[in-house]
């Protein structure tokens, strides 16, 4: 009645309207800052958060897959405050507390990708849709990585790639939701080229055998660029099917090609088989063009070296990381992994372990699991203590920029694990490149797709 008696003044209307606007619109936004109201895929609501491990437990890269699984389980233990903490205490800077991620206990689900892109994609879909995975990680082939990364972009789920070395993963196929810690084929070529020139001279004829999928193609291209820049001639580049097993039909043409270097752009069991069979064909005992015939394996791993046995001795390649580096991070991880599993970790295990920690740390720093905020926390993030020296997660392509190792098969091993020796640690600056050279488009982070 009072209101009617006094009438509605203009000031009163404005005051009431402003109060209403503030009360119903702005204030809730203030209180829910950082909550994003469940509007993203698999927002964890209980007291656990689930990670999806997409592992090649069978197929050409199964050895790597088994080691990756061990590394993930160790990383998750450490994140949950169990075990010796591993690299949790050495990551710099770090927001990790050893109480899970954002106070939620970390759980995991797994899927066997069979080292096949389509199976990897199906497994990732299942883990996101059925098991509620907030993040997908793993893989040992770039075919898998590119396929799963594309899927994760569509589903709004972050993908922390395992072992993938193709230029395409953070090049033409890069995605906003995909991140790679591992180095790439381009960096292998840049790091390895000068060492090959120094060891084998400038006048060489190279024959490439190349795994016929994205990684092999970019590895071959990168090695061709690096060796042709030295003055080497490329005699032939022959594609071989992934998982071929018997490479004899591809190796015999090498013998009469006039080539004096065989570059095996193979990985995993393919590399073990092709290298072993090349040695059986007597290639390492041959002299061609007045020079000792040489074999080069641009991407090496400890597991492959162990599988190939004495055939690997003296052969050059590159590696993302190696357990016998002397920095504190490497030593801590090797100790932790060795104590748990009775063998030193492979580079595949290392990259997967680090990726898990980096994702967890990014969530902690972002204060949320909301993927666009986690992406922001990872992009341009500079860190150290993980065994690779100071490392940058480059914002432009989501490629980690760090040192690259040139390695060689150990001539006189002191133990069954002493299979590779680090010849040179090529600095991060030396393997830096303009991300634009490989094209691609990261795409948007927002609006975050709802799976």
């Amino acid at each position: 009645m009072t209101l009617l008696k006094r009438g509605l003044s203009r000031r009163r209307v404005l005051q009431t309207g402003m109060a209403g606007i503030i009360g119903t619109g702005v204030a809730p936004l203030m209180f829910t800052k950082g909550a994003w109201a469940q509007e993203f895929c698999n927002n964890p609501t209980g007291d656990t958060v689930t990670l999806g491990l997409n592992l090649p437990l069978t197929g050409a890269y199964a050895e790597e897959g088994a080691d990756e699984q061990k590394a993930y389980e160790l990383a998750i233990k450490h994140l949950n405050g169990e075990g010796d903490g591993g690299l949790l205490n050495l990551l710099q800077p770090s927001a990790l507390k050893g109480n899970g991620i954002l106070g939620k206990k970390v759980a995991f689900v797994t899927s066997d990708s069979q080292t096949k892109a389509d199976v990897a994609r199906a497994g990732a879909t299942r883990m996101v849709e059925r098991d509620g995975a907030i993040m997908i990680t793993g893989g040992s082939s770039s075919g898998e990585a590119v396929a799963v990364q594309g899927l994760c972009q569509e589903m709004g789920v972050i993908f922390m790639a395992g072992l993938t070395h193709s230029n395409d993963t953070t090049g033409k196929d890069k995605k906003r939701y995909g991140f790679r810690h591992f180095f790439n084929a381009y960096q292998s070529g840049v790091a390895l080229g000068p060492v090959l020139g120094q060891e084998y001279g400038k006048d060489r004829k190279a024959y490439h055998l190349t795994a016929d999928y994205t990684w092999g193609w970019t590895q071959e291209e990168s090695m061709k660029n690096a060796t042709e820049a030295l003055g080497w001639e490329t005699v032939a580049a022959v594609r071989t099917p992934l998982g071929a097993g018997d490479f004899s039909q591809f190796l015999t043409p090498v013998l009469n090609s006039g080539a004096d270097v065989l570059i095996l752009n193979h990985y995993g069991n393919d590399m073990v088989n092709s290298l072993t069979q090349a040695v059986q064909f007597g290639m390492r005992d041959r002299e061609v063009n007045g020079k000792q015939f040489q074999i080069v394996v641009p991407l090496f791993s400890e597991l492959m070296a162990k599988g190939a046995g004495p055939n690997i001795k003296g052969i050059f390649g590159t590696s993302n990381w190696h357990w016998n580096l002397q920095d504190a991070g490497t030593q801590a991880f090797t100790k932790s992994f060795g104590a748990a599993y009775g063998a030193p970790p492979s580079q595949a295990a290392h990259t997967c372990y680090v990726q898990t920690l980096l994702y967890a740390d990014a969530c902690e720093r972002a204060g949320t699991f909301y993927p666009p905020e986690v992406i922001k926390a990872l992009e341009g993030h500079e860190f150290d203590g993980m065994g690779n020296g100071p490392t940058l997660y480059r914002a432009a392509d989501h490629q980690c920029m760090k040192n690259v190792l040139v390695v060689r098969g150990t001539e006189n091993p002191t133990s069954e694990y002493d299979v590779l020796e680090v010849v040179q640690e090529v600095s991060r600056d030396a393997v830096d490149y303009d991300p634009a050279i490989f094209g691609g488009d990261l795409g948007p982070a927002e609006p975050a797709p709802i799976c």
Binding site: G245, T252, F281
Partner: protein, 343 residues
Amino acid sequence: MFEAIFLQFLNGLDKGSAYALIALGLTLVFGTLGVVNFAHGALFMLGAFCAVLFRQLMTMETITIDPTKLSPWGAPLEVRAPLVQAWFGDFGAVLVNYSVPFSIILTIPVMLLVGIAFERGIIKHFYKRPHAEQILVTFGLAIVAQEIIKSIFGPNPIPQPMPEAARGAADIGIWLGMQANVITYPIWRLVYFLFAGVIIGGVFAFLQFTTFGMVVRAGMADRETVGLLGINIDRRFTIMFGLASVVAGLAGVMYTPLLPPNYHMGMDFLVLSFVVVVVGGMGSLPGAVAAGFLLGILQSFASMTQVKAIVPGIDQVIIYLVAVIILLVRPRGLMGRRGVMEA
């Protein structure tokens, strides 16, 4: 160019040896029992794993802890000592070095028993069923065998080293009066080819020159008449199934240094071997062997850089292409018998 062609010819003989050995076993089973045995690739794989098992037994170790030394991860060092060498001294070292050829001793009885168990346990119940059902049940048997091996030995290939003496390459060029290093070829692949020749020759001699073989051949031609003569032909055919298993197993054993065995290696060979059998002519033993070598050599030549430059990817399809052409021209295959697998 001659060197390249000659090397591919050798490669073809090597591949053909494996195809011929597997196809020979398949044809033995089909020719005697009339069964299309899709588990035959699994028998090849089981033979390879006999070699793996033998080597694992030969390389068993005792593990002692040396507290004075540390592993790279700071734990007390495990010192491993080979058990067989401790027991048998130098002979133990020979057993380890020659584990692949020695594993034949284990493979023959194991594969014979496996073959007889397959035949008596399952396959005999499907003799009078349609071929489609035989294929289904033997295919299922192959998958069961694969999964058992996978659960015991794991999913990853297990490399089997060849004996020291057979490592490296033989200089065949010198044998042919050429300069050194012009034509070299891995010794073990030559060994495999010779081994295949001995096995194939042995099987043919067994069928040709023994009374048992004569009865089996008679049974293959007319089972009912042989039965009417009072001969237990079923028992002989069971033994032939065991023999076919042994042939497949031995092919697998000797192949292990060339391709590390894994649980699905049999499937990789099975499809090709069936093509070989069909091209050779269902039920024809000489046809299977001839087609095995023919297709191996053709596949090898198709993988030459010069050939692939003209027809890219031809090495992947050549076998199937040739199979289609032969079946169009000669529907019974190269040496197929009238009435076999014909309505």
